[in-house]
């Protein structure tokens, strides 16, 4: 089930909310959340719910073992089993085809790939359960002794299938004590509508631009058209993914949870390092906290750790070489930036840093888009004019003008303009009143527009569903 569907918004969600708020007792509310989360997950893939429960059970049991055998061999074994089983699940279901296909190419063998369908959200929930076991081992969180509470954390439907990767420590206390007051519910509603609009009104329409130019043969695409399309794609991914995160965070607010932000206007970054501090924050912090500082290669060669992190970041996004290249590509620039050092980086004129970082990021999204190497090569040739294609053609002009307002709005929303407006909100009574009234009207219009456009959209899964 996807958030951006009429079925979710106008069938599943209302029933879930009615059932949830029918109880005041937190235990019953948790049970409602477990039941609806499992229904949510099982809706399209009932078989794979067994994997979810399996992963949750492993880490629940390992947590108990770690607690019982703290600082002894038993805790190490439990942690190792958690690592092996969770990463094993990912390996089998996400990467086995990729690895076997590469073995077949390198060794000219003919091993049939198992062709597993990728269980939705496996990359997210395995990382969540893994983070719990590691945090238990490090003593950062208290052990969850109630299996159902732990299952609720793992299966919590707002963040289950496409993140953000919510650490157990974030909601540890909220499992028992959380408040759905009028402020948090109102905030949640606003956030859901904003997220839905980002996905349905902006990302879906940007995707039609991308499809127009990138879906077929791109070898004859003019230089500027290629740049234009990859910029549109960068924004599409941002609005798609951050829209989902907004909806997840908004749903969390309604249920009384406070998930961490996953995006903080990444395109305003001044360098690549900052981009990754603003983009998919929950993934970046996961790798930073659990992988970057582990002395895998010894403390002196931390640079290898850095590249391992970016290799994993790329691989996490998909079982294809272009994702690995994408990850390492960012790793190289982050390494260069860290070698130059923060102080020296700051001395570079701001405009140059902005220009440099946007170019690197946008080209990065090109690598992210093209899984096929020959098409990726065409893309690189196009952006530097090596294909001897035209600089521009009418298709670009038509597409740009046909979507002019959409593009302007998308660019403006990449900037923290709304945050600035929000900061003004409580300056005076009049501003507060009119600000609230305007925001309220906008929300009604956005919900109506998004719902109408959903009637028109037969298939609009979130991009990050496949990761």
């Amino acid at each position: 089930m996807v958030f951006s569907s009429l079925f979710f918004l106008y069938f599943f969600l209302p029933i879930c909310l009615i059932c949830y708020f029918a109880f005041k007792n937190i235990t019953y509310r948790n049970i409602v959340l477990i039941v609806f989360s499992l229904i949510f997950y099982a809706w399209g893939e009932p078989v794979w719910i067994s994997l979810l429960i399996f992963s949750a059970t492993i880490d629940y049991v390992n947590g108990l073992i770690i607690n019982k055998f703290r600082d002894r061999l038993g805790s190490k074994i439990a942690l190792a089993s958690s690592l092996i089983l969770n990463l094993g699940l990912l390996f089998v279901f996400k990467y086995s085809d990729f690895i076997i296909n590469n073995i077949n190419i390198v060794f000219k063998t003919d091993i049939p790939p198992p062709n597993f369908t990728l269980p939705i959200g496996i990359s997210f929930y395995t990382f969540q359960t893994l983070s719990y076991s590691i945090d238990c081992y490090w003593g950062k969180v208290k052990i969850q002794k109630n299996y159902f509470n732990f299952l609720m954390y793992v299966s919590l439907f707002p963040q289950l299938v496409a993140g953000p990767i919510v650490r157990y420590s974030v909601i540890e206390n909220e499992i028992y004590f959380r408040k759905s007051d009028y402020q948090s519910i109102s905030k949640g509603i606003t956030r859901i509508i904003v997220g839905l609009s980002k996905k349905v009104i902006i990302a879906n329409n940007l995707s039609t631009i991308v499809d127009t130019f990138f879906k077929g043969d791109i070898s004859e695409l003019p230089v500027l058209t290629t740049w234009y399309t990859v910029i549109m794609y960068s924004m599409q991914v941002y609005f798609d993914f951050s829209g989902y995160s907004d909806m997840a965070i908004g749903l969390g607010h309604i249920f009384g949870f406070n998930f961490d932000e996953n995006f903080k206007h990444p395109f305003i970054c001044k360098d690549v390092t900052e981009f990754w501090q603003r983009w998919h924050i929950s993934l970046g912090s996961f790798f930073r906290d659990y992988l970057l500082y582990l002395p895998i290669f010894g403390k002196r060669i931390q640079v290898l750790n850095l590249f391992l992190v970016w290799f994993c970041t790329g691989l996490w996004h998909g079982a294809s070489w272009n994702y690995i290249i994408w990850g390492l590509y960012f790793g190289i620039f982050i390494f260069i930036e860290s070698t130059i050092g923060k102080k020296k980086m700051k001395k570079i004129p701001l405009i140059i840093r902005h220009f440099y970082s946007k170019i690197i990021i946008i080209i990065g999204f090109g690598i992210f888009f093209f899984e096929d190497f020959s098409r990726l090569l065409d893309f690189f040739k196009n952006i530097i004019g090596l294909n001897r294609n035209a600089l521009i053609d009418d298709a670009l002009k038509v597409s740009f003008l046909n979507n002019l307002y959409l593009i302007i709005i998308a660019i403006l929303l990449c900037l923290p303009i709304l945050d600035g407006i929000k900061a003004l909100k409580n300056k005076s009574r009049i501003i507060t009143f009119f600000g609230n009234a305007t925001a309220f009207t906008f929300k009604i219009v956005l919900l109506f527009t998004s719902s109408v456009m959903l009637v028109d959209a037969t298939n609009n899964p979130f991009l990050y569903f496949r990761f």
């Binding site: 569907s5 009429l6 079925f7 918004l9 106008y10 069938f11 969600l13 209302p14 909310l17 099982a42 809706w43 399209g44 893939e45 009932p46 078989v47 009028y182 402020q183 519910i185 109102s186 509603i189 606003t190 329409n205 039609t208 127009t212 879906k215 077929g216 043969d217 004859e220 053609d393 009418d394 298709a395 002009k397 038509v398 597409s399 740009f400 003008l401 046909n402 979507n403 002019l404 307002y405 959409l406 593009i407 409580n426 005076s428 009574r429 507060t432 609230n436 009234a437 925001a439 309220f440 929300k443 009604i444 919900l447 719902s451 109408v452 456009m453 959903l454 009637v455 028109d456 298939n459």
Partner: protein
């Protein structure tokens, strides 16, 4: 000092009062927010459950998703629950109104350059839009024909093709149009939808090779003709536009040069002479009957056969037509500027018999049907998934077979005065060996009639498939 302290206290009190009132305003709007959106959510949810749901979409020419039938397998596989969600999403009450409204919203996403807009069609989706066959009206009487037409031999495996499968034909280039009769990209120019043509020259050569094989199999006794019909792009493309597209005239010339023993019917040049008349629909990817009339006339002249002037037909005009290109593009301007759908009823005597795609289960019906909505093109023969036989009062013994896509359907009414018998076969929906069929029916003239997208995209591969199957 005391005054200063009092002033400070006053400021503090004022600030507190201001903060309190701001807090009250925020609280008021938070509660309004929750209340209104709860009402909206519950109101819409209840309406979606209670109101009657549509079962078909006229705009898209398709049946909407049905509520799935329960079985254990579908529940386990997830298709049952998925289908429930699809049913809920697909059959929204007032769906057409919402779709039209969405089209209007989309039209405000930007501005037009010289009246041009571009759309990309998801062909996976559009396949399901494609109306294959018109359902017969409930009051339509079907007369079973059991004796008039000899049925083909039961043993349909007997193949008398003399030319082996064309293994030496040039390699087929992957269809850039993703199959079918129109492309992924549609330009809207001055309220006209123009599917953008990308057909390859290599495929044009393979098409010619496939058609040549029929001539080789059928020999001198049968005249074989190739009529590849250009589409709107050849006539209405904005000349200044540099948007990448293929050239239909170039590929038609390429096909012509590769035909061997097969006569080319050059309808491109004929239609060009009439480009200012209403020969192509603005909102549909087909031509209008008038375009088909000029093409049929050109063909009849090439066959040296009599051809009835259009003034001798009964003209029927159906206003308010919005065709397939609106369904594909969702462009508000197409929807807001409907056109006339015109067709012509022949006045001579003829009977029309329809068969299934294995040339069985015959029944008599009308050549021109009462189609509705955006499926008006189904007026001609009622669709494609059938074999049609028309027996006419034409003063000769010539038997024509038309192997075609849907463009060929509109030709048929204009040829009823020229051939005694006409067999119409859609190359995509034919279960027999075509050479056997043509011989058994005593065909004297064979016409391949399809648009350029079919001839140089992927549909043309069916020409060879039905020859060797």
């Amino acid at each position: 000092m005391a005054l200063f302290r009092r002033k400070k206290e006053n400021i503090y009190v004022n600030k507190n009062a201001k903060r309190n009132s701001i807090h009250k305003i925020n609280k008021f709007f938070d509660i309004i927010n929750i209340f209104i959106f709860s009402v909206v959510l519950l109101g819409i949810s209840t309406s979606l459950v209670v109101l009657e749901r549509p079962t078909i979409s006229e705009i898209e020419n398709r049946k909407l998703a049905e509520f799935p039938k329960y079985n254990k397998e579908s529940l386990i596989s997830g298709t049952y629950t998925d289908s429930i969600a699809s049913f809920f999403n697909d059959t929204v009450p007032f769906r057409n109104n919402f779709k039209n409204f969405a089209a209007t919203i989309r039209s405000y996403l930007g501005i037009q350059m010289d009246g041009i807009k571009m759309y990309t069609v998801d062909h996976k989706k559009s396949d399901s839009f494609n109306p294959k066959t018109i359902p017969l009206p409930q009051d339509f009487s079907i007369t079973k024909v059991t004796t008039q037409i000899p049925l083909p031999p039961q043993d349909t495996t007997q193949i008398t093709t003399t030319t082996p499968p064309l293994e030496t034909a040039p390699p087929i280039v992957e269809d850039p149009n993703d199959g079918g009769e129109l492309s992924n990209n549609i330009m809207i120019y001055k309220n006209r939808g123009i599917p953008i043509y990308y057909g390859s020259l290599e495929n044009g050569q393979v098409y010619a090779a496939y058609v040549n094989a029929y001539k080789a199999d059928l020999g001198e006794a049968v005249n074989v003709y190739s009529m590849v019909c250009p589409t709107a792009i050849s006539f209405y493309w904005p000349s200044y536009s540099t948007i990448s597209h293929g050239s239909e005239p170039e590929n038609l010339e390429n096909i012509r040069n590769n035909l061997n023993g097969v006569q080319d019917v050059n309808v491109h040049d004929t239609l060009m002479e009439h480009k200012n008349e209403y020969i192509y629909s603005r909102t549909d990817h087909h031509w209008q009957a008038l375009g088909a009339y000029y093409a049929a006339k050109k063909f009849a002249e090439q066959c040296n056969l009599p051809f009835a002037d259009i003034r001798t037909y009964d003209k029927v005009v159906i206003p308010g037509y919005v065709g397939t290109l609106y369904g594909y593009s969702g462009d508000a301007d197409l929807n807001n500027n409907p056109e006339d759908f015109t067709y012509y009823k022949p006045k001579n005597q003829y009977t029309t018999t329809y068969y299934n795609t294995a040339f069985q289960n015959p029944y008599q019906g009308n050549l021109l049907m009462d189609a509705v909505g955006s499926a008006l093109y189904l007026t001609f023969l009622g669709g494609d998934e059938k074999i049609t036989h028309i027996q006419t009062d034409a003063p000769n013994e010539r038997t024509l077979a038309i192997i075609k896509d849907s463009y060929g359907n509109a030709l048929v009414p204009f040829l009823t005065g020229s051939f005694k018998n006409i067999y119409v076969v859609d190359m995509r929906y034919f279960d027999l060996n075509s050479i056997n069929f043509l011989r058994e029916r005593g065909v004297t003239d064979l016409l391949f009639a399809m648009n350029t997208f079919s001839a140089t995209g992927s549909n043309f591969q069916n020409i060879e498939r039905i020859r060797i199957q």
